[in-house]
Symmetry: C2
Subunit: 424 residues, 2 copies
């Protein structure tokens, strides 16, 4: 008897009819001879509606109270799903994050799971019940307060429970039927992958693919939890993300997929003295402003006076963090001693990801050849062991993605039609 954790996103439980549909899927999984734990997100746009209510009463919500508010969304969907399952004749019990033993740190709004003690879940499973768990939430053992795991945190709840319960598989259901070689809304000829290794999935998620939450993928990698990404509304087996040895025998494709990200800004700092510690000063400042930076490029140019060499540093960061980082840099211009700082919100990032890059040469040549042929101007380049990312003008990134997708022969003969959103 296998133990399967299933996570259903907000679009999968968007109304009563969809909840009944999910109930049938869950029962079918149990009837096939499995123990089943189900993690649910809030219904449809519930979380946004609750946030909107909070914004109507305050401009500056207390993080503790905001978590108390937002966690009611999953409470509604999990109780309704459990009611639906019960009414179809199967036994189920719903559990809040704290009842399910999801223990976190105290960072309201973006808590990290510290420990999972799923005693009540195990008990329910042992008694033949289906366990329904509220995603996205946990509680802090010291303060006894409710916490949330941040957007997309239900994926993380599911993977963490799968790890703690030593589940055989963790299925992530949404309205998307798998992991594609690119976003099919952008590249209709994108091909669904039957499988992908967890490292490549991690790079794709980091590069802007919205199919899985990056923290959940990282959790799956660290704890060796195999994931299956599939659609609530079809019987397609979806894409398996191998995090265990089972994946060793799969053929490593050179390139698994292409991802783009239009949500970043670029900041360029010109004329920094090329002295030890100056770059560190800049990035300490950025970190103190609370921003996560992504790509960094430093060019050292020879100044007019050979003794006074200067550098330019440019980096990318989420658009939402740009204003505060610019303000911090402008305030520190005198103390750091750079000449000028400017930003560009009109950038797009294109990434090519594949575990096979480790062993295959020629990936860069194919990539830059395709970009050159398509007339794409490259502003920045960064690489990891299994990823190459380039920054282009935001208006060129879609063309760039199509050109690169074709160059790596990722195009499918049939166009994807089922893709409808991210389903988180």
């Amino acid at each position: 008897m296998a133990l399967i954790v299933q996570k259903y996103g907000g679009s999968s439980v968007g109304d009563a009819e969809k909840i009944k549909h999910v109930a049938k899927r869950v029962i079918a999984t149990q009837k096939a001879g499995n123990k089943v734990v189900v993690v649910v997100s809030a219904m449809g746009d519930t979380t946004d509606e609750l946030l909107d209510l909070a914004n109507q009463v305050t401009d500056n919500p207390s993080p503790r109270e905001l978590d108390m508010l937002l966690t009611s969304g999953e409470r509604i969907s999990m109780a309704l799903l459990s009611l639906a399952i019960n009414s179809l004749g199967a036994k189920s019990r719903s559990f809040t994050g704290s009842q399910a033993g999801i223990i976190t740190d105290e960072v309201h709004g973006n808590a990290r799971i510290a420990e999972v003690t799923p005693g009540r879940i195990q008990e329910a499973l042992d008694e033949g019940d289906i366990a329904i768990v509220a995603g996205f939430q946990g509680f802090n053992r010291e303060s006894k307060d409710i916490t949330t795991l941040g957007r997309g945190g239900s994926d993380t709840t599911a993977v963490a429970l799968a790890a703690a319960l030593n589940a055989d598989l963790c299925e992530i259901y949404s309205d998307v039927d798998g992991v594609y070689t690119a976003d099919p809304r952008q590249i209709p000829s994108a091909r669904k992958l039957d499988s992908i290794d967890v490292e490549s999935m991690l790079e794709l998620a980091a590069a802007g693919a919205k199919i899985l939450h990056i923290r959940a993928v990282e959790f799956a990698r660290r704890h060796g939890v195999d994931l299956r990404v599939r659609s609530t509304f079809s019987e397609d087996p979806g894409t398996i993300v191998f995090a265990t040895n089972n994946g060793e025998h799969m053929e490593e494709s050179v390139v698994s997929g292409v991802a783009t990200d239009k949500g970043q800004s670029k900041i360029l700092i010109e004329g920094i003295p090329d002295q030890p510690g100056k770059a560190a000063e800049v990035f300490t400042l950025v970190a103190e402003a609370g921003a996560n930076i992504d790509m960094i490029v430093q060019n050292t140019a020879t100044g007019v006076d050979v003794e006074a060499k200067i550098s330019d540093i440019s980096f990318t960061l989420p658009k939402g963090d740009r204003a505060k980082v610019m303000a911090a840099l402008e305030a520190a211009q005198g103390s750091i001693g750079f000449k000028n700082v400017e930003f560009d919100d009109e950038i797009g990032k294109l990434s090519v990801v594949g575990a096979g890059m480790r062993t295959h040469s020629g990936v860069s040549a194919t990539l830059f050849g395709a970009l050159a042929k398509a007339g794409i101007n490259i502003e920045m380049i960064s690489t990891s062991e299994i990823r190459i990312s380039v920054v282009t003008d935001i208006n060129q990134v879609d063309d760039a993605a199509r050109a690169v997708h074709s160059a790596f022969e990722l195009d499918s003969d049939i166009e994807a039609t089922v893709y409808a959103g991210t389903g988180r």
Copy 2:
């Protein structure tokens, strides 16, 4: 420094603007030099909307899961109120029923409070915070499951917390500005009472006055908690319900008020053998069907054969319980041996309540005189120490109430205008 518990009903927190208004009232109470605990109901019609969602997924909801679902409503309102209070510069923390230490029995949907351990509330108050508590909910210590206290249970939460914290006063806020001598929607000349004793309030609540939940009044009586019933939307001091010795010095009015109830049915069982135990058989059956009966009248008539005396028994019960009780009685007709059973949904109950009835004679004479003069036909009569109730045709009960209200000189010179609903 006094400790005040305030309870705000659903209509008081119906939208963001109203929540901000309540936040200001709460802060003003604290600034006046009090420690404040606030109990909130779910916003407006939230509970009904959640019930509607439950009915969309199942005809026969599991009580445990229904409680899990419904308690999300108070979680939303309490978090929003706490956010609003914080944003106005005061300190507050919200607590679920279980965090507030509301421990109940295991009866989902209608749990009774077994114990209140308000350690976290006391701690918040000691640190100068306003404590916001979700009404209507608690948890069962054995099963560790969430429970609800039944409709209007937020009143009970407030009174139970006031008792456990030894509060100086428990204020019940709604859109009604106090306890009236009658429902002003029915009798516009009804007069607001400055004060009423808790026993009379209990009888009025039992007789159909919807201003306070009967279990909350009973709790206040048993634990000696003074209540103040007042409006969220006016500065009127409302009505104080004395449960302590403070009330001994008030003048006991002969009649405090008149209440009507159109939500009951009458069942008449004809021709029951007048033997010991037959009435017990009937009422055991009714209790097993899960119905609460209210008034009971038994008439013993002499049969044709003097040896075979028979009785008629009639009783009233909530309309919603009538069908199942009729079915149970019809099934048992043979074993109990009565001749006929029938029901009447078209009845109204009128009650006159007053602590002064204990010591003043002539109340019955005034009551029945007024009813006779108004041409009201009386079907049943029942009395307690401080209440007389009569059952009439449903179409006559409003006229009856007006006649009786005048006869006891309860009419005010000014018509009430602020009364708008029950506000629970």
